[in-house]
Amino acid sequence: MKRQLLVLGAGTAGTMIVNKLRRKLDATEWDITVVDRDDAHPYQPGYLFLPFGTYSADQIHRSRRSLLPTGVDFVVGEVDRVDGATDTVTLTDGQTLRYDYLVIASGTSPRPDQTHGMLGAEWRRSIFDFYTFEGAQALAAALQDFDHGRLVVHITEMPIKCPVAPLEFTFLAEAWLREKGLRDRVELVYVTPLPGAFTKPVASEHLGSMLEERKILVESDFLVERIDVERKVLVSYDEREVPFDLLVTVPLNMGADFVERSGLGDELNYVPVDQHTLQSKAFTNIFAVGDSSDIPTSKAGSVAHFSVEIFVDNFLQLVAGEPMTGSFDGHANCFIESGDGKGLLIDFNYDTEPLTGTYPLPVAGPMALLKETRRNHLGKLAFRWIYWNVLLPGRPLPLPAHMSMIGKKAAATHQKEM
């Protein structure tokens, strides 16, 4: 009998994995199957731009099937549960799929249902998300009518997918309001559960001062308990209140519910894995790649990309009966849009926070780190083409999977107050 590789999720990680592995695994020995609930692969970084009318819908969606290689079975269906003891996956339509190796690549999703009041009467009237296509489009319409008041950008709880996106949205909204001549009629507030603008000290300081320069108020250490819909107020667990006219929130992010049903998840439905190999702590033939695992780095496409490179090599060793020698270091890099046609770039891993300096990019030349430049903005826009045409098909991109210190300036030690 042929060996079965089953991948749950045809998003960034799942698509890259099957494209790379189909070339490496002998078709006479291996079947590869991918399951997803639908056939629309979104270019998720594009959602950020939808509210400002930069992209149209067709620029940010492709058929999932069209991005998969021949020789891979694509099954559209909802996963009911994984049974790690019998190596089977059951779909909600009753179909059972057997596997020798399972990759969980089902990502993370915004869950507005998890915060009291979020999905109430004001949802998509004065309360919006921009991490879904529908949310970003509804927000685009709302922004057209918004000409004064308090615009509040809010993060419910970490970790979230693309942790820089709320900051980018804030910078873009500020520039957009300025362009429309409305900036002095709008109070902009950034509400975060973190102690500052970002998770790590050097980046937090840089990004924090960018918020300050733009006269954006920051409400930090704010953990929302509920939204008072009648009064249009965010209420925190320690009873602070932030009123809003237009709320752009990032709901709690959680892994797929089938992970929880299968007993494979932590308290946010993320699969506990070895952070260097992405192998499940519960079953040696299960891996969680991309946003679905509990690794302590950003939930971001770049992490999916770099970790897939390590995973694929390790996987080939594992199925050949050899020890896995690759070790993922948590490498992430992200462009941060800052408005006015400029952007920043950050590059970091488990051990090294985002620093200033330069990022050595082959051909295109060094990109400035943690600094607003036109070139970083163009890099971000160019990435959409790279995503569809190079990244997802699993073609080599000349970026090393491991983070490098070349070009980076070391950080001074920070003393922080409790």
Binding site: P159, P195, T199, D221, L223, Y237, D238, E267, M418
Partner: protein, 104 residues
């Protein structure tokens, strides 16, 4: 990293004052750490601290507020009352554990 004296003994801490070796901690030291940030420990505080210590021993990571509430059964609202303003950080500090790094 530096060495400070707390509860009459040398303790290794990082630049923010968090213990770097969780095994140097015991409940007397927990009391001293709490006093240092103006908290007097009650039985309710100890429930949270003991959950954090046990969970860390099993998981190798400091529990987030959500984990203390869903797995430890102590509501987030209560944690804010017990360890005001920055409960996740303060709980970890008093429990002699690293800051929770679920927040990336």
């Amino acid at each position: 990293m530096s060495v400070i004296t707390l509860d009459g003994r040398p303790i290794q801490v990082d630049e923010e004052g968090f213990l770097t070796d969780p095994s140097e901690w015991d409940e007397d030291l927990g009391k001293a750490l709490a006093t240092a940030i103006g908290i007097t420990l009650t039985d309710e505080h100890w429930n949270a601290i003991r959950f954090l210590r046990t969970d860390f021993a099993e998981q190798g990571e400091t529990a987030t507020l959500r984990r203390v509430s869903t797995r430890g059964g102590i509501p987030v609202k209560k944690l804010f009352a017990l360890f005001p303003q920055k409960p996740a950080k303060k709980m970890a500090y008093v429990s002699g554990l690293p800051k929770p790094h679920g927040c990336v």
